[in-house]
């Protein structure tokens, strides 16, 4: 056994230190090139091998998971930062490849201008936007720029999950690839479809979509729309220009047509909305809660853009480093139940729009080196926590902790990251109260709150909440009149606000949140500054729950004996 101080005989006298890896080393891959970057401990790659390795990893992640079907519309969420920029460039490269290795989906880019939440001046924001547009034009994909302020005009339906049939088996994927290849050989019907989808693109951007619009769009619409051939659409040039020429635009079309139809850019946010956003973020007491809120709002906005423009996948640029940090952060934030969704390759919580993370095999070091060596442009925009001290938020603290550990033990990040890969998205079975499938209002994960579980700190948190207001359907006293007897029960005096006991809007919102979001909302003294769609949806949900409860009473009475019926 190894013991401290054990004598292993004569130590090699003055063993020469292992030679420091220097430039005399060769690339571990080709054994020829001059190494440029050390990837894992000791693996030095030359420039060319590093590029091949990097590109291969991106394509392998997509190939392995087989989630993105040929011809599918995929929205790339681009922040201007290194990882998402690198992702956009990988897609661009993948589309310009020769046919056999070519990526076959139809990309679009969304950029969310978060300047208001980060306290940027209007002038700085305009400057940043100009920089962003320059890059977007170089890339040439259809793009959508939205300001974070637009959360104030989101429809409540964005918070709903639109169920979709299971994504299909590997057989389905193969069939889709085959039919896509066939379609490519028969371009005529394809063109027809292309113009159809083009028309839709023309119509949607100008008007801010209403709730009805989003709802009206069945989840499958995205898919049918995604079918048109990519070949034409994915040329480096925005496809619509040629299209408009070929097909004389109708009056309606020209009217709705933004610069090039593929691009949407919202009107600059009104001063009132910017002020409202300022007020919202200003009212949040901690940086931790601010970061979480920003993430929530951003996700909703991207989801909305994806839905209104018929994208069925959203690609996020989270790197392996970022995801490992996120995993630990989310554990600390009480989001342990959702780790598999929050950090996995794919996230199906929204139903019709699936979030995928194709950069999850790349470390930030690889990303930074790739972007530097191959001149991938990225735009630096101050984040909400720029220049914040290390202990300003759980996010910052966890990042510093992980990176410092990583500096001493170079496999920490990859170990954590590999753990995240193994997490299984098991649907929570009916142990929680409420109907199955009840979802958190904010993060739209299946609720992890279990009021029966009162022995734990978790339960204590919930029971504390239930003291402020009666728990969701008070099962013991279903017939408690909620109003004075004078008002007929059938009319439901509190129709508008739900049952009396839950008239408090704050309690009504809080009870619809998962544990993590509840904790987070504690740092929001008032819910009033929240965007209306959240509050509206909360109200709708509690009304629905109340109606459902009412109905259930009747059902119980119906099936029960007469004694109970007489009671009421």
């Amino acid at each position: 056994m190894c013991q401290v101080g054990e004598d292993y005989g004569d130590p090699a006298p003055e063993a020469p230190l292992p030679p420091r890896p220097g430039r005399e080393l060769k690339c571990v891959k080709c054994k020829e090139g001059l190494p440029t970057v050390v990837i894992r401990a000791g693996d030095a790659f030359c420039r060319d091998c590093f590029k091949a390795f990097y590109v291969h990893k991106f394509r392998a992640v997509l190939g392995k998971n087989r989630l993105i079907f040929p011809g599918e519309k995929v929205l790339l969420a681009w922040s201007g930062g290194p990882s998402s920029s690198s992702m956009v460039w990988q897609v661009l490269e993948g589309l310009s490849r020769d046919s056999a290795k070519r990526l076959r989906f139809v990309p679009g880019i969304v950029y969310v201008d978060e300047g208001a939440a980060c306290g940027q001046s209007l002038e700085d924001r305009t400057k940043t936007l100009a920089e962003m547009k320059l890059i977007l034009q170089t890339v040439g994909f259809p793009w959508h720029i939205v300001a974070l302020e637009e959360v104030f005009s989101l429809p409540p339906s964005v918070l709903r999950c639109f169920a979709q049939e299971p994504a299909g088996t590997k057989g389905a994927y193969k069939a889709a690839v085959d039919s896509f290849l066939q379609q490519q050989h028969a371009p005529a019907p394809g063109e027809e479809q292309l113009s159809q989808s083009g028309t839709q693109d023309l119509q949607s951007p100008a008007v801010l979509p209403t709730a009805a619009q989003t709802e009206a769009q069945p989840p499958t619409a995205a898919q049918t729309e995604a079918q048109p051939p990519t070949a034409a659409q994915t040329e480096a040039q925005p496809p619509t220009a040629a299209q408009t020429e070929a097909q004389p635009p109708t009056a309606a079309q020209t009217e709705a047509q933004p610069p090039t139809a593929a691009q949407t850019e919202a009107q600059p946010p009104t001063a009132a909305q910017t002020a409202a956003l300022f007020r919202l973020f200003d009212s949040v007491k901690t940086l931790t809660a601010k970061e979480e809120l920003l993430q929530t709002l951003r996700t909703h906005l991207i989801l909305h853009v994806a839905r209104t423009h018929g994208y069925s996948k959203v690609m996020m640029g989270d790197s392996c480093t970022r995801l490992a940090i996120k995993l630990m952060t989310n554990l600390a934030l009480g989001r342990g139940a959702f780790l598999a969704w929050d950090t996995g390759f794919s996230d199906e919580r929204h139903g019709d729009v699936v979030v995928v993370r194709p950069m999850r095999d790349h470390t930030l070091k690889e990303v930074a080196f790739y972007n530097r060596l191959f001149a991938v442009p990225s735009v630096f925009t101050p984040a909400i926590d720029t220049k914040a001290p290390e202990k300003a938020s759980i996010h910052r603290l966890m990042e510093a902790f992980m990176l410092r550990l990583q500096a001493q033990f170079p496999s920490v990040i990859s170990t954590v990251y590999r753990t995240s890969e193994k997490l299984v998205k098991a649907p929570r079975d009916g142990s929680a109260d409420g109907p199955p499938g009840t979802r958190c209002l904010l993060c739209t994960c299946t609720l992890d709150i279990d009021t029966a579980d009162s022995a734990t700190a978790f339960g204590a948190q919930t029971s504390h909440l239930s003291q402020t207001q009666p728990p969701t359907p008070p099962a013991e006293a279903p017939t408690t009149p909620c109003c004075s007897a004078a008002v007929g029960r059938a009319q439901g005096c509190c129709w508008g606000a739900g049952p009396c006991g839950r008239g408090d809007p704050r309690a009504r919102v809080i009870e619809q949140l998962c544990y993590g979001c509840r904790v987070n909302m504690k740092d929001l003294p008032s819910l009033d500054p929240l965007p209306p769609y959240i509050l509206t949806e909360a109200q709708l949900r509690s009304q629905r729950a109340w109606v459902l409860q009412e109905m259930q009473e009747y059902l119980v009475e119906d099936s029960d004996d007469e004694a109970q019926t007489g009671e009421s």
């Binding site: 420091r20 890896p21 220097g22 430039r23 080393l25 001059l34 190494p35 440029t36 970057v37 050390v38 030095a44 969420a77 922040s79 201007g80 930062g81 290194p82 990882s83 998402s84 996020m316 640029g317 989270d318 480093t321 970022r322 940090i325 930030l364 070091k365 990303v367 930074a368 080196f369 530097r372 060596l373 630096f380 925009t381 101050p382 984040a383 926590d385 720029t386 220049k387 914040a388 001290p389 290390e390 996010h395 910052r396 990042e399 510093a400 990176l403 410092r404 990583q406 500096a407």
Partner: protein
């Protein structure tokens, strides 16, 4: 006695925010007794270039974890990290991969 060196120091990934937003700095390191290595350079940077919050850039005698160092566009891990001896006309790049310096996704 090492002769004065002319070196390009560059900051990226948001690290430039700690340097008045200036990315590229052409600097002349004065001649000194011991040769200039990265360890000395960091001390010099802290004294002469860094405008605020040194703890966000330097930790101990090295850079804060999460900040990458490239010497002439190659990983400093290949070149002996802090012990690399600077040559005239070298370029040293510091890229922050930290979130506060950069947006995550």
């Amino acid at each position: 006695m090492a002769a004065p060196l002319s070196v390009e120091v560059e900051f990226g990934g948001g690290a430039e925010l700690l340097f008045d937003g200036v990315k590229k700095h052409q600097v002349t390191l004065p001649g000194q007794e011991e040769p200039w290595d990265i360890r000395n350079l960091l001390v010099w940077i802290k004294k002469n270039l860094l405008k605020e919050r040194p703890e966000l850039f330097i930790q101990g005698d090295s850079v804060r974890p999460g900040i990458l160092v490239l010497i002439n566009d190659a990983d400093w891990e290949l070149l002996g990290e802090l012990d690399y001896q600077l040559q005239d006309q070298d370029s040293v790049l510091f890229i922050s991969t930290l979130h506060g310096h950069q947006m995550g996704s």
